[in-house]
Subunit: 332 residues, 2 copies
């Protein structure tokens, strides 16, 4: 019989198939063919095809917006939201709206079209994460922005439209619904127990052991108790810290190492699937300081979201997390 499990932060229920679980070979394999390499705006030498760089890691002797870089941050040429203007919220009959103020940046992780995050050197990956932090810290100074979301879409099934390896950063004029729910769930738990739910979750994972995949000095990676997707992985810092962009340098490098390791394990186990990862962080406020705990959620895209999920907010997961953790842990 299937189990119903409650995700402890937002209270989402998931149906986990424990009787007849899927294995890694039961999912459709997605081909990733590189087709856009001519005139790719993110490639070495094509720097003039993007808006000017906002931030960069480059050879000291080279000029901005020329070759010689290893990580490059630019404004999205087709932004979902626009940086200029004042926020103007207003009504329209019974409806509410606002002009689309925000920032939409792209962190180009490598100058090479055929490289993915797992091909980067540890130091290169560390530079990428450093840029996530420095851009978030810079944008949050703008008083119009209430939340900075950092996320990556890899592969077509995960919604990637450009194939050259990149991460996106969107600054929003309001704290989005999903973040609000998580913050509230963690606050409710804190009010009741006077403890951070994520710190408690780490403790529980150490007790249960079976869902832990790997860990290092500063981070632990596990398959969550009530995942939405098969082979979902969370990376959580061991130190209580609500704000992603307040990581210490040592933590940045440890995160880079662990994230690269996990992405590699997912790639090997599941034949290079599409995936999303999302940095979950508190806004830079005081209210969530004790109760929230930033972390990364990695969601391989092996199945399709269907009517049941859209209608309920429940998810059906065909492999229990202790088994997906085992597959990922055993990768050599």
């Amino acid at each position: 019989m299937a189990e119903l499990r409650r995700e402890p932060i937002v209270g989402r229920w998931v149906i986990v198939n424990t009787d007849d679980p899927s294995g890694p070979e039961d999912f459709e394999i997605e081909e990733h063919t590189l087709t856009q390499s001519n005139n790719c705006p993110f490639c070495y030498g094509n720097e003039s095809l993007t808006p000017p760089e906002i931030d960069v890691v480059r050879e000291p002797s080279t000029k901005p917006n020329t070759a010689g870089w290893s990580v490059r941050v630019v404004a999205n040429k087709f932004p979902a939201l626009q940086i200029e203007g004042e926020l103007n919220r207003r009504g329209m009959g019974i409806f509410d709206m606002s002009n689309g103020i925000g920032a939409h940046e792209v962190i180009i992780e490598t100058p090479y079209h055929n490289k993915t995050l797992t091909d980067l050197l540890d130091t290169e990956f560390c530079d990428v994460i450093s840029k996530y932090c420095s851009r978030a810290l810079d944008l949050i100074k703008d008083k119009r922005f209430k939340y900075i979301l950092i996320f990556k879409n890899y592969g077509k099934s995960a919604g990637a439209s450009l194939e050259h390896s990149h991460t996106q950063l969107i600054a929003l004029p309001m704290v989005p619904k999903n973040v609000h729910e998580e913050l509230k769930g963690a606050r409710d738990y804190f009010e009741y127990r006077e403890r951070c739910i994520f710190c408690d979750m780490i403790y529980q994972e150490y007790q249960d052991k079976e869902r832990i995949i790997i860990e290092n000095r500063n981070f632990i990676a596990f398959s969550p108790f009530a995942p939405r997707f098969p082979f979902e992985v969370w990376i959580v810092p061991k130190r209580h810290n609500p704000y992603f962009c307040h990581m210490m340098q040592e933590e940045i490098c440890d995160l880079a190492k662990l994230l690269k390791d996990i992405l590699m394990r997912i790639k090997v186990t599941l034949h290079n699937p599409s995936y999303n990862f999302i940095i979950h962080s508190s806004p830079l406020d005081e209210e969530n300081k004790d109760s929230y705990h930033w972390h990364v959620e990695i969601m391989p895209k092996l199945t399709r979201v269907a009517g049941f999920e859209w209608g309920t907010g429940f998810y059906i997961v065909t492999i229990p997390p202790h088994l997906s953790a085992k597959y990922l842990r055993e990768v050599k």
Copy 2:
């Protein structure tokens, strides 16, 4: 510049591209090839391949579980939840779980493998909707079930695994998160304004006119002000009624006609896309009687959900609803 719009019931924000909108030709076309027609358990003559029929529309002279039917309801052979047993909620460390009690039924809409809902006669479609209602009414008598969800997945991108046209019904031991949010949003509105938000929305649609696609005596179909997906359509009954399964016979037939018409318009405009539709109804309680208003949400699957949507709960829609309504309205 894009517009930010707030969905009035649950407060979800969507980013609507009003400056440079997509048209129907800008979405990828998905092929639907029929491959599973041999030994399809839902086909005429293969009745013994499914669990026994629970409900049926069939020729009076024919026997159960033989040919001679036009709509057939059976238990799902691979149910997400199981009907036998008592609900047993319990803790597991800091986590909460339950055994997977529920019902999972399939409404086979036609005996013919190559037919879809839009190929049915009006009377046949009416029989399908009647079975949705009668099954929901029957299952809700079981005190273990708190909510009945009826939904359809058409096409691979919408998560359909069997290609023979069918609808699914799942009875759940708890009111799911998404339904709970909608009920609460509608109740909050009612408490503030002493009016049903859906009744107000119908009134607003008549004022604004531009998002209405079609209507008949009992129903109105429009593109919602803040859709999650391009070409999303809502069908709302004109009469305030919280419970889908309390429709009158006349309403059942009018819904069948309007839903068929809308599905046909979507098929023609968007080259037969995958879609989900979901019946949104209140549980059979007193609490939501005045504030909630059942309806159908139809979501063509033209785009992929990516990291931004997963991270925020915001959606980016590349065509504003007044334009998608216009395209659908103008279908001959």
